[in-house]
Amino acid sequence: MSLHAWLLLGAFLAVLLLTTKPLGLYIAHLMEGRLRWARPLENGLYRLCGVRPDEEMGWLRYALALLLFNALGVLAVYGLQRLQAVLPLNPQQMAAVAPDSAFNTAVSFVTNTNWQGYAGESTLGYLVQMLGLTVQNFLSAATGIVVVIALVRGLARHSASTLGNAWVDLTRATLYLLLPLSLAMAVFLVGQGVIQNFDAYREVATLEPAQSGPQLLAMGPVASQEAIKMLGTNGGGFFNANSAHPFENPTPLTNFVQMLAIFLIPAALCVTFGRMVGDTRQGWAILAAMTLLFVVGAWAAMSFEQQGNPRLAALGVDQAASVWQAGGNMEGKETRFGIATSALFATITTAASCGAVNAMHDSFTPLGGLVPLANMQLGEVVFGGVGTGLYGMLVFAVLAVFIAGLMIGRTPEYLGKKIETHEMKMSAIAILVTPLLVLLGTALAVSTEAGRAGIANPGTHGFSEILYALTSAGNNNGSAFAGLSANTPFYNLLLAAVMWLGRFGVIVPVLAMAGALAAKKRIAATAGTLPTHTPLFVALLIGTVLLLGLLNYVPTLALGPVVEHLVLWMKA
């Protein structure tokens, strides 16, 4: 990896860590109800909705509220797509979306996956993009945040029967956190060249009209969607090419800000967690584990992409990095981003469950493409999605103290809470539901004609395309090896089911665990308590995450990218 690539990674982490503490404390203040600047709007909403803000909910009621709220989201996004031909703000007169595709997209955006079987600029009108997709970018992000806040309250409270009020938490996460950040970021993006208008697609003459004819430029309210797409770790592009499209991500600076926006809230939530459980070191330990795992992935992806493609080298193509070019594996990458920025973005977007892309992962080198795949397979806990990453990591922390407890023969405890049978059952479900969905889904797709029909690249890469799709859906990431033709009834329905279960099959047991933890008494730490803020625990946590990931997925990785790597570099 070049010095420049290291500097870029270092600058990214430095700026990120500068924001982490202030934003984390802000979120803690917010979720503890101490922020008031939007109170008039907030209280007005509660009055209109019949919400009594001081009424707390137990875990089951909290979970039901979220399920109901999200189910409404699916209905709304589905309905808007089906009806878009007769709705306003559709200057290109996009037709109604087919039922299977509309259902897939609805589930995809509600579950914060933002998998896209469709191409934005040739499928959706502006109203659907705004009132359907942008709304879910906010609300699915808010859902993730409130789930982790509920879990943290479960850890922080003792002998309590409630976790908070879901309506209040959703409203506050949206109004005080996501909206102001998005507004600021959207305006910045427009300043850099991201478009924001309601015009019809614009026809322009070109410099070679005789040979190429005029060009039709897709338009739309892009910046407003782009901002929350990154901040909410959603990742669903306004356009098909996502953050590779110059109208979504025009400059290296917008790209840097977009990368920061992905990790901004997931990193800050670690501080929020530490603050709310009354021991900030706990949050920093989690953040340290995430950061270490992330840096290894970033190093690997940047290194392998810079190596380039030996088959192109054999044709005499110049892939060497120099002051005049980035070199490396440039298929599916933009010139302004080159190798380091594209590979770093790919690592960030899959470490967090964002799924936006600024380069086509399908064209990555085998091991460069293995990094995004493995990031997702670790369960989206390396920063992870807003909220989802931290609650995923806290479940792993519970598992880590359990494993440590087995090794030293003591009852495991975490943050003064005894970890007992019920908690272990819930964390086992939360950890195993996704690998089950991914592996069974992949098996189903590769063993059916309908599944294999979608493959674009021959050989072992075709298997990787299917594995990537199921991994992305199950872990609610949304990026793709996009050669796979996934806009078919088979994939639309299979992936929709996997996305929904991968989301709420984790959220419900996490909330159940939160409820049980809240009810427990707090026990004092003794000499036999394993401290959970030390480097030893960070190592134990990383080990647990890696062990589970390896056990679940190594055979599939061997069949896909590893074989492909060996073939690519084999001497002819």
Partner: protein, 191 residues
């Protein structure tokens, strides 16, 4: 359960109005007031006619122009209403064939040029609309463009160097040349 339905439905509708209507409209209003040109697509005007957007690449095949990145959009390259990469894997024979064909076309247009071709000139971009090529890719094309226009190579080369952008703050992005702007400057030279 029944006591959950009213807050769920009404909160969903109200938050939808705030985030799905009020917010994008507010951004549009601010954008129009503060950054009207960017919000409309950074369009380039030449003699009263919009010839393109400085952010969106165009297809060039005339030897007198610098050529951009290969584009995988369909049905024609640089279709700005259907962005797309090729999604070809590194081992896919279709990728190797495509690169061979591009090499051949570049060599055919400039038979005397024996230097190795920079990789971005023979590989498809992620969006299919990449407005840039690397300075290396532009410099590689200087002899052809100069000959086709009857200009001195040094003059074309200095034009390329004048249009080259470096990394931002020595850190962000990669060195690049905006092909449309470079070609506009070339055309202006000829007049």
């Amino acid at each position: 359960m029944k006591t959950l339905v009213r807050p769920a439905v009404s909160l969903f509708l109200l938050l939808s109005a705030v985030t799905g209507l009020a917010y994008p409209l507010a951004v549009t209003g601010i954008a129009r007031a503060v950054f009207p040109e960017q919000a409309a697509g950074s369009l380039i005007l030449e003699d009263g006619q919009v010839v393109g957007s400085e952010l969106i690449g165009q297809h060039f095949s005339d030897p007198k122009h610098f050529w951009g990145r290969p584009s995988a959009t369909a049905p024609q390259p640089y279709n700005a209403a259907a962005s797309s990469g090729s999604n070809l894997g590194p081992l896919n024979p279709a990728l190797i064939e495509a690169v061979e064909a591009r090499l051949e076309a570049l060599r055919a247009a400039d038979p005397g040029n024996a230097r190795a071709v920079p990789v971005d000139l023979v590989t498809a971009s992620a969006s299919g609309l990449d407005p840039h090529i690397s300075p290396a890719a532009a410099l590689w094309q200087v002899p052809r463009v100069a000959r086709a226009r009857g200009l001195a190579e040094a003059q074309v080369r200095s034009l390329v160097e004048g249009h080259a952008e470096g990394r931002q703050w020595w850190l962000l992005g990669e060195p690049r040349v905006n092909v449309l702007k470079l070609n506009l400057a070339l055309d202006a030279l000829g007049q």
